[in-house]
């Protein structure tokens, strides 16, 4: 089987698996990194949201063969380290707002939130209602209002 090398949460990893196996399953089933969740498998629910070179990506829709050795994948497990702390400011905001109910979608929500804040900041804007309305991540427990509050707070702390 072909070997694939990429960076995962700050470390180089190599896996033996067919090119077309989606990254979500490489992470979960082969590498045992289970923070990114399965919720649909077709890039709709966003429960698997992680980062590729700092931007939001959905591993359920990325064949592992599409990654290069310098591509940096960050999952929820590696997020705090990108801020050089035990917890990323967005994770702290999530705790402060006590956002999670069942918690299944929350790793993806947090990763999407961080990428959104970065993108909006690059555009020189502050997070607005339209940005929050555009978040596609589903929370079937309906924690949306606390998510919105946490993102605004987390965004302030990321600056």
């Amino acid at each position: 089987m072909p070997e694939h090398t990429f960076r995962l949460n700050g470390e180089q990893v190599t896996v033996d698996v067919d090119d077309d196996v989606r990254l979500l399953w490489v992470l979960r089933d082969i590498l045992g990194v289970t923070g990114p969740k399965y919720g649909c498998g077709i890039n709709v629910c966003k429960a698997c949201t992680s980062h590729l070179n700092g931007r939001a990506v959905n591993p359920c829709a990325v064949p592992v063969g599409a990654l290069g050795p310098d591509d940096e994948i960050t999952t929820i497990e590696g997020l705090a380290a990108t801020a050089g702390a035990d917890l990323h400011p967005m994770q702290r905001a999530w705790l402060d707002q006590d956002v999670a109910q069942c918690g299944y979608c929350q790793p993806g929500q947090i990763m999407a939130a961080v990428a959104l804040v970065r993108r909006v900041a690059e555009e020189g804007r502050e997070i607005g209602d339209a940005d929050l309305d555009g978040i596609r991540n589903i929370c079937r427990c309906g924690t949306y209002v606390r998510i919105r509050e946490a993102i605004r707070a987390g965004a302030r702390d990321m600056m």
Binding site: Y38, E77, Q91, C102
Partner: protein
């Protein structure tokens, strides 16, 4: 406190022996383990209102609590030598926050920081009989006393051991933050006392519970005990468990509901696909086991199966609606007095959680072990044992924390499939449903109609009649135990059970004269289940819409009308609170309106006020692949659940209930065509998303009005759905009668049914943002 052995004859465990005096146990063992039976049946609660309403005398919670009584077994609190306190909760945490609230109860009695209490979920314990069912918002109601009794017994034993250790009377000792302190600052930690406080023989002990006025934990907001694990990705769900050799497994499912496998044309070919280890025909389809789930998906898509018909062959929404009309019980002749009347239709709705149906199973010749998030684990264990032909004791069922439930986890469809696949393959399996499977073959809240007539004369309401007609709701999880579950499967028994459940869960909060509500069910061909709040959202929505209409006929404001006709002071108080907080009656532009609704259940009351924007520019706003439509712009939820254990947790539950109510009223329905549901994705089934979330939400938790906890987890759904429907009717000038209101428009291109699951996308890198 062994010498505190009661002088009166022994009573069943947990029974009150005084105003606040209860009996518990110290169990023999090397470390301190204390126990209590589950709750004594409270005196039937009348909530202060003389009324013929059965639900006010005894509701479903009372039945469940009472059913638990004689056989309940014991729940135990253990103090470890590291000073931690552990409790295995015989319930299932699926997001509703019961591990947190239970830790708070124990922390309260032991004066411990909440984070020193470890609450885990108990394996299936058949000796608990009825008493291991998570449902009907009953957990806190039924465990509030016994959990504290067990903790209080532990407290007493620790103080007694400290007294011996420090050589001072117990009256001079205080227990705080896990340390017992005596005169002159002498102290000893509870970890050091754990073994000394242990019993060499099991003893019965009488204890006092801490009085409410001394509560420092109960009633104060506390963050979830699993929050850190959730935000760091460390929280473990079934699919995250590493059970040796339990490889990914999925099932190729039929194109119509409950279709059966006829034959498979290419078994050998699929067995040879990359990563695939096993392929086996099971009852529900063709199971595939592989190295990764991605390879399972590819294999499922590659299978060429000829299918036999299912149980809803050829049926559509229209066909089922005709069945419902035929099954509707008569409403009686039109009254001679004025009346308002309408029939409402509610589409099938999915109760999928975000975590799909899943289970791990390791079946051997002589035993089986299963991991799954199960709200009725005893029924699951017994059904699994029966399916495998194994003695009950040879089956171990571990209850895992669930990624949501909403009624879905009362069933164990994935666990049964997993044991079947594991047995057929002779290997452990980690079985997961694809989202498309979950939407199309998973359980749904049944399609229903509700016909309501209210007769009146002048300003007096003379009578209320409601005929609720529903596709049969599968309640075969019974009250958590196989004997009741089997009774529910009998054709007659199930109808009796459904009707009983219906009557026990519904009530008439308004002074509406003679009233009757009847349930009629038809068509058992669908995979159904009770969805969060079960019958109440539809039943209440129908009632509240007609209440608005009646108020209009009488020339009254919807809020004033409700306040005038509500019979109960707690009910009036939440309604007034919602109206006041939401500034009821404020001027709004054309196309926008407020709506207000009320619902009571589980000895709790709730009122919801919403504002909705139905103006064309809002309805027509565009979000990619989204149903936008009317937007709820503001919501106020006022609740009185009696004694609130964790206000912050309650607020979270109410926020979730509101999102459910918005979805039920506006966007979330399943379309039945040709024997299958068209929806196969979260972008087909429109549960509330961020673009439909109200930017403004207030949850008001009323002060304790009863001194006892009422049910809360599902409480807010009914009034939320009704308030949104009422607001929609007032904003558009037309009372909605079909739900969700967008059901007449199909807003997506249905995915094929063969193969049953969509291909995994490959274009993820094009959408990096």
């Amino acid at each position: 406190m062994t010498d505190a052995e009661p002088t009166s004859p022994p009573e069943p465990a947990g029974h009150s022996v005084g105003r606040r005096r209860f009996l518990g146990y110290v169990l023999a063992g090397p470390t301190l383990v204390t126990a209590a039976g589950l709750a004594p049946a409270p005196a039937a609660r009348a909530d202060g209102i003389p009324s013929p309403e059965i639900t006010e005398l005894v509701d479903l919670n009372d039945v469940m609590t009472a059913a638990a009584l004689p056989t309940s077994g014991l729940i135990t609190v253990e103090v470890g030598e590291d000073g931690s306190v552990s409790f295995a909760l015989p319930r299932t945490e699926v997001g509703q926050g019961i591990t947190t609230s239970t830790a708070m109860l124990i922390a309260e009695e032991l004066d411990l920081p909440v984070d020193r209490v470890r609450v885990t979920l108990a394996d299936a314990r058949p000796e608990l009989l009825f008493n291991q069912l998570t449902g009907a918002s009953n957990t806190t109601v039924s465990t509030f006393v016994p959990v504290r009794v067990a903790a209080a017994v532990a407290r007493g034993r620790l103080l007694r051991a400290a007294s011996a250790e420090l050589g001072v009377p117990e009256s001079e000792l205080t227990l705080k933050d896990g340390t017992v302190t005596g005169p002159a600052g002498r102290r000893v930690g509870i970890g050091a006392l754990a073994a000394k406080a242990a019993a060499v023989r099991t003893e019965r002990v009488a204890v006092d519970l801490k009085p409410r006025e001394r509560f420092t934990v109960i009633g104060r907001s506390h963050g979830r005990v699993d929050a850190l694990a959730a935000v760091t990705g460390r929280k473990r769900f079934t699919m995250d468990l590493d059970v040796p050799d339990a490889k990914p497994t999925m099932v190729c499912r039929p194109p119509t509901i409950n279709g059966r496998v006829g034959s498979v044309a290419n078994l050998a070919e699929v067995r040879a696909l990359p990563g695939v280890t096993d392929v086996a025909v099971i009852g529900s389809g063709v199971a595939v086991r592989a190295e990764t789930f991605g390879q399972c998906i590819d294999a499922v898509r590659a299978l060429r199966v000829s299918w036999r018909p299912g149980t809803a062959e050829g049926k559509s929404d229209e066909v089922v609606l005709k069945e419902l009309e035929a099954a509707e019980l008569p409403l009686g002749l039109p009254p001679l007095t004025p009346s308002v009347e309408a029939r409402f239709t509610f589409a099938f709705r999915g109760n999928s959680a975000l975590e799909p149906n899943c289970a791990i199973a390791d079946v051997r010749a002589d035993r089986a072990e299963v991991w799954s998030s199960l709200k009725a684990p005893i029924v699951a264990k017994e059904a699994i044992a029966a399916k495998l032909g194994l003695p009950l004791g040879a089956v171990t069922v571990h209850v895992t924390e669930g990624g949501g439930s909403f009624g879905r986890k009362l069933f164990f469809d994935a666990a049964l499939e997993a044991v079947e696949a594991s047995r057929a393959m002779g290997k452990p399996v980690k079985l997961m449903w694809h989202r498309a499977d979950d939407a199309r073959q998973g359980r749904a809240h049944p399609m229903a109609t509700s016909r309501v007539r209210i007769s009146y004369l002048g300003n007096t309401v003379l009578g209320y009649r409601q005929r609720h007609t529903s596709v049969a709701t599968d309640l075969s999880h019974g009250l958590g135990e196989i004997f009741t579950a089997l009774a529910a499967r009998l054709p007659v028994g199930d109808i009796g059970f459904s009707e009983t459940f219906f009557q026990l869960s519904q009530n008439m909060p308004y002074d509406f004269g003679a009233h009757s509500r009847l349930l009629s069910e038809t068509d058992k061909g669908f995979n159904t289940g009770s969805m969060r709040n079960v019958y109440s959202p539809d039943v209440t929505c129908a009632r509240e819409l007609l209440v608005d209409r009646l108020a209009g006929k009488m020339g009254k404001d919807p809020y004033t009308f409700r306040r005038d006709f509500l019979r109960d002071d707690r009910a009036k108080a939440v309604l007034e609170k919602a109206a006041e907080t939401g500034n009821w009656g404020r001027a709004m532009p054309d196309g926008m309106a407020q709506g207000i609704a009320f619902h009571s259940e589980y000895h709790s009351v709730s009122a919801v006020l919403v504002e909705i924007d139905c103006r064309p520019e809002t309805v027509g706003r565009t979000v990619r692949d989204a149903v936008t439509g009317p937007r709820v712009t503001k919501a106020v939820v006022a609740v009185d659940v009696g004694l609130t254990v964790n206000p912050r947790g309650l607020e979270a539950q109410m926020a979730g209930c509101l999102m459910d109510g918005i979805a039920l009223a506006l966007t979330a329905g399943l379309h039945l065509r040709d024997g299958h549901f068209l929806e196969a994705s979260w972008d087909n089934y429109f549960y509330t998303r961020q673009w439909n979330t109200p930017p403004e939400l207030r949850v008001v938790v009323m002060p304790d009005s009863t001194g006892e906890p009422g049910g809360a987890g599902e409480l807010g759904v009914a009034a939320s759905m009704a308030a949104v429907a009422c607001a929609y009717g007032r904003a558009t000038g037309t009372m909605p009668t079909r739900f969700p209101v967008n059901h007449g428009t199909l807003s997506f291109e249905p995915k094929p049914t063969v193969p049953p699951v969509p291909a995994s996308p490959t274009d993820g890198l094009d959408h990096v943002r």
